[in-house]
């Protein structure tokens, strides 16, 4: 297979790739110039639609379609909000984009703003990414100084401001409407949908919320054309995407792969195989909230939205968590349950109370208090949470649990048996 084309990561690894000078040497702001000088806003949207680009934040919603939902004739101002609140455990690709190629994100924001008639972009950056915000701020200042941001961009009538805003460390603020609330200075609660942000978003105005990688991909699409991008991937999932691989591989890191790339190749070629030559046990293919898959499934699955759906999981945010045979899936699931319980915003009943209950059961099992009926109880509670919560966090709590119980029942059984063993053999005093 030929060396795959790099879209988002093509400037990664170039010295000083975060500076404007280096960015300009490598096709920087070419797409912006092309868009604002030679394209109509509708053409930009069409190009993105043609590219079959799907949101890289987790849900995989087609970006062009999302942009198309913004009412053209609304008298209200429109906003572009970049979701840089990358908090999904196992995901760190957006951080790489902002660290190594901040200008591609700014350019993507500006092109999106041009396409949608917006004059303000906010980049909402995860609170823990303090230094990333510094990098973005410096890049934005550079762009202002050279006339790529601000008034009359590149001598045209198009004006647009770009701001960064730090989150305060809540996972829920990665949910787009909670992010908007947080950006408005309110408590980060997901809003009731509909209305969707495209109609009533930030400050009640039409808003597009896109992931960092999604926006950073847009300049390449405008420069090279939507069809070219689409051909890099599969029919339904266009282009390439970043995946961040962590866990028990020899070379964890951020890799750009064309959609439809085999997971086996990713693990063995890019990541240099499983550590210590161990056997692969399980993979969480798209950030911690998607269902876990077994080694056997991982070796036959391809990394695109459809193929991964066939094994009952999702591509999600591209955070691939690899576990080898030394891992205990019960313990890893317990860790995730704790995370989701801790990050539940408390808005709705199933996620708030269900998550707490669930964690308490896992906690009890892990210290040897497991009961034979616990697995049924967990399944039943999961059924009461899944699909009933206010936002997707409730589902994100349940999916890892139910999939882990289904695919690794032996780990759960072992955890339950631990209690019986403890009863037989009292701890030495």
């Amino acid at each position: 297979m030929a060396d795959p084309v790099k879209v988002v990561s093509k400037r990664f690894g170039i010295p000083d790739s975060h500076t404007l000078d280096v960015y300009l040497q490598h096709d920087g702001y070419v797409a912006l110039e092309k868009a604002v000088k030679s394209m109509q806003p509708a053409e930009v949207i069409d190009e993105v639609k043609k590219s079959a680009l799907r949101g890289r934040g987790g849900a995989g919603f087609p970006t062009g379609m999302k942009w198309g939902f913004v009412p053209k004739d609304s008298p209200k101002p429109k906003y572009i909000v970049c979701n840089a609140d990358e908090s999904e455990p196992g995901t760190f690709k957006d951080r790489a984009v902002m660290e190594f190629d901040p200008h591609s994100l700014i350019e993507g924001c500006l092109i999106a703003a041009y396409a949608l008639g917006s004059h303000t972009c906010y980049i909402y950056i995860r609170g823990e990414y303090g230094w990333v915000q510094d990098i973005m701020d410096v890049a934005i200042r550079e762009a202002y100084a050279k006339g790529y941001c601000g008034k009359n961009i590149l001598g045209t009538d198009f004006s647009c401001d770009v701001y960064t805003h730090p989150g305060a460390g809540a996972y829920i603020c990665g949910e787009e409407t909670a992010l908007l609330n947080s950006l408005e200075g309110k408590r980060g609660h997901p809003r009731i949908k509909p209305p969707f942000p495209a109609v009533e978003g930030l400050y009640g105005c039409p808003t597009v919320v896109n992931n960092v990688e999604t926006l950073a991909t847009v300049p390449w699409i405008i420069q090279h054309g939507g069809d070219t991008f689409r051909q890099l991937g599969t029919e339904k999932s266009g282009g390439t995407r970043l995946v961040s691989v962590c866990g028990h591989v020899n070379k964890p890191g951020v890799y750009e792969i064309p959609l439809g790339y085999p997971m086996k190749d990713l693990l063995e070629k890019e990541c240099g195989g499983i550590r210590n030559g161990n056997k692969l046990k399980a993979v969480i293919p798209g950030g911690s909230s998607v269902p876990i898959i077994t080694a056997e499934e991982a070796y036959r699955v391809k990394l695109d939205f459809e193929s991964i759906g066939e094994v009952g999981s999702m591509l999600g945010s591209g955070g691939v968590i690899v576990m080898d045979e030394t891992a205990d899936v019960f313990e890893s699931t317990f860790r995730l349950v704790h995370f989701y319980k801790h990050e539940s915003c408390g808005w709705c009943t199933p996620c708030r109370d269900g998550g707490d209950w669930m964690e308490q059961i896992f906690d009890r099992i892990s210290i040897g208090g497991g009961r034979s009926e616990d697995l049924d109880l967990i399944t039943s509670l999961g059924r009461n949470i899944e699909g009933k919560s206010h936002c997707a966090l409730g589902d994100a709590l349940v999916w890892p649990i139910t999939s882990a119980m289904k695919k690794f029942p032996e780990d759960f059984q072992r955890a339950l048996d631990r209690g019986k063993k403890l009863l037989r053999e009292p701890a030495a005093v």
């Binding site: 009731i192 990050e343 408390g346 808005w347 009943t349 708030r352 109880l377 009461n384 009933k388 206010h390």
Partner: protein, 545 residues
């Protein structure tokens, strides 16, 4: 299925049965009209949608997830399932979650018997509890002398928070912490608010409760009497809960009065005088300097004889008869009959507001609730509706908070209503008349100087009032004489343009207008009592005891 646009209805299918519902209604309301009660906690009429309790989820055809019926608008042809095993299980599940960390202390909870959580668990819940883990106990705390917070009983419907924000515009309650640690609480542990107690009334569980009703009689043991609050001219409907001769609480949850479910601090907590041991509950006759209990017959005979003696000795007019602004029209009419029988001309009452002057001068009709709701500008002069007529303040704030009307306040007091005023003019006491003169086209310099404000204030206020098209003028009791006359005729004094002006006198007592109607034709109070009248009444209560 077709939409009948003329009658504004549409047809939806509920569990396979087609029903006709009003178009544009919320599903939960539409179902309620059909007699189908969807259990819910966070949904509440007149409060913004919340969709957090997840009790009201229903299955709507073609929707992948269950949908909250409290945020879904009915559409023609919508097929809804509300009574399937799936929904039943879901409701059980939600109630199980709510009860998981609940103290289950119904036997000592004062909400027991009228608790929505209890009712819903009885109707829809599990028989047995599967939760065997540890609960997170939170002790109950007094957050004010009137209200205590038992946070562990909370189901997080946020009705209290929304009521405080939206109805009251106070925002004293908030959600603290996150996830399973969250509680409803105040900002520094103490409730900094008007103490209207509406948060307690809307609470579906025993979380926020009246301290005065703590460990009081169970709700089903209370005799509930619907009556009218006797504090101000708004006349809110209250329901007094009493057992034996003791009144235990005052609530408005039935929502049948003009106040709907609103009560202010006076109506809610100002009832303890009823239970006071110092009340005079039977006739007393003073003999040898000592008040002694007497029968009504003896007392009436005694009074009649004494009054007759005085009239005989000093003439009929030596006896004055005073009505009151705090008693009913019937009582005032009866008092007039007594005066007539005594043949005295000295019949009067102590007004709290110079309605005689106001009624003589008023240049339009009195403002109704609808006028206030539809006004584009509300001008309050010489009073504070938050003090004088809290319900009026509540009603006028609703359009102001929604940005549909603008509020202007001019007062010598730092009126609390000024918080939401577009402009507040702080007057020198007695400066109302000169300000109104300035508004009516007089020199703003002269007006401002005498009224104790800046000329630009007067200018700005005049511009705002002249720009109004539907103006409500609220005249407070600080306006006297010329100020009252000018305020009551402000609509005809303002220049420029057509506008619809209505007036609201901010009378303070509960039957000021009735007293004016029944006794207003009599002698002026000052003539009856003389110049010392105010001094005399200052040391003796004007209310009938």
């Amino acid at each position: 299925m077709s939409t009948d646009t003329t009658s504004q209805t549409c047809t939806i299918t509920v569990d396979g049965v087609p029903v006709v519902v009003p178009a544009g209604a919320l599903l939960i309301e539409a179902l309620k009209m059909q007699g189908i009660d969807i259990p819910n906690f966070c949904y509440y009429q007149n409060l913004p949608a919340q969709a957090s309790c997840r009790m009201c989820l229903v299955r709507i055809e073609k929707m992948p997830r269950l949908q909250p019926s409290c945020t879904t608008i009915v559409k023609d042809g919508m097929a809804v399932e509300v009574n399937t095993p799936e929904i039943t299980d879901m409701r059980r599940g939600m109630l199980e979650f709510m009860l998981a960390d609940h103290p289950l202390d119904c036997p000592v909870c004062d909400r027991g018997g009228e608790c929505e959580l209890q009712d819903n668990v009885f109707k829809f819940g599990h028989v047995d509890a599967r939760f065997t883990e540890d609960k997170h106990p939170i002790p109950d705390v007094d957050i004010s002398p009137f209200i205590y917070n038992d946070a562990q009983r909370c189901v997080f419907c946020y009705r209290c928070v929304r009521v405080c924000d939206v109805w009251m515009d106070v925002g004293a309650l908030a959600k603290l912490n996150r996830g399973s640690h969250e509680t409803i609480g105040t900002f520094d542990g103490w409730l900094d608010c008007e103490h209207c107690g509406n948060c307690v009334d809307v609470c579906p569980t025993g979380t926020l409760m009246h301290t005065s009703y703590k460990y009081g009689p169970r709700p089903w043991n209370l005799d509930e009497t619907e009556t009218t609050c006797s504090y101000c001219a708004d006349g809110c409907r209250v329901r007094l809960g009493s057992r034996g001769n003791v009144v235990h609480r005052s609530v408005a949850r039935q929502g049948t009065g003009i106040n709907e479910e609103y009560l202010c601090v006076k109506g809610r907590y100002g009832f303890d005088y009823i239970n006071s041991g110092e009340r005079v509950t039977q006739p007393l006759i003073r003999k040898h300097g000592e008040l002694r209990p007497a029968t009504w017959d003896d007392a009436l005979e005694h009074v009649a004889k004494r009054l007759g003696d005085i009239a005989k000795a000093k003439g009929a007019d030596a006896v004055a008869v005073l009505g009151s602004t705090r008693i009913t029209n019937e009582a005032n009419v009866a008092i007039a009959i007594v005066a007539d029988a005594l043949d005295t001309t000295q019949l009067s009452y102590k007004p709290d507001f110079d309605l005689a002057t106001f009624m003589k001068s008023v240049a339009g009709r009195l403002a109704t609730k609808a006028d206030i709701a539809s006004a584009d500008t509300i001008f309050v002069i010489g009073g504070d509706p938050k003090e004088d007529q809290p319900l009026t303040a509540h009603q006028l704030l609703q359009p102001v908070l929604k940005g549909r009307s603008a509020l202007y306040v001019a007062s010598s007091r730092l009126a609390r209503i000024r918080k939401r005023a577009s402009q507040f003019v702080h007057l020198r006491p007695g400066g109302e008349a000169v300000l109104l003169l300035g508004l009516a086209g007089g020199s703003s310099d002269v007006s401002a100087k005498s009224a104790g404000c800046a000329p630009s204030d007067v200018e700005a206020l005049r511009k705002a009032l002249e720009a109004s098209r539907r103006l409500v003028v609220m005249v407070g009791s600080e306006c006297h004489g010329a100020a009252l006359e000018a305020a009551a005729a402000l609509g005809s004094l303002l220049g420029d343009g057509e506008r619809h002006v209505t007036y609201r006198p901010l009378v303070e007592d509960n039957n000021s207008v009735g007293a004016y109607d029944t006794l207003g034709q009599g002698v002026a109070y000052s003539e009856v009592i003389g110049a010392l009248g105010d001094l005399i009444t200052a040391s003796t209560p004007s209310e009938p005891t």
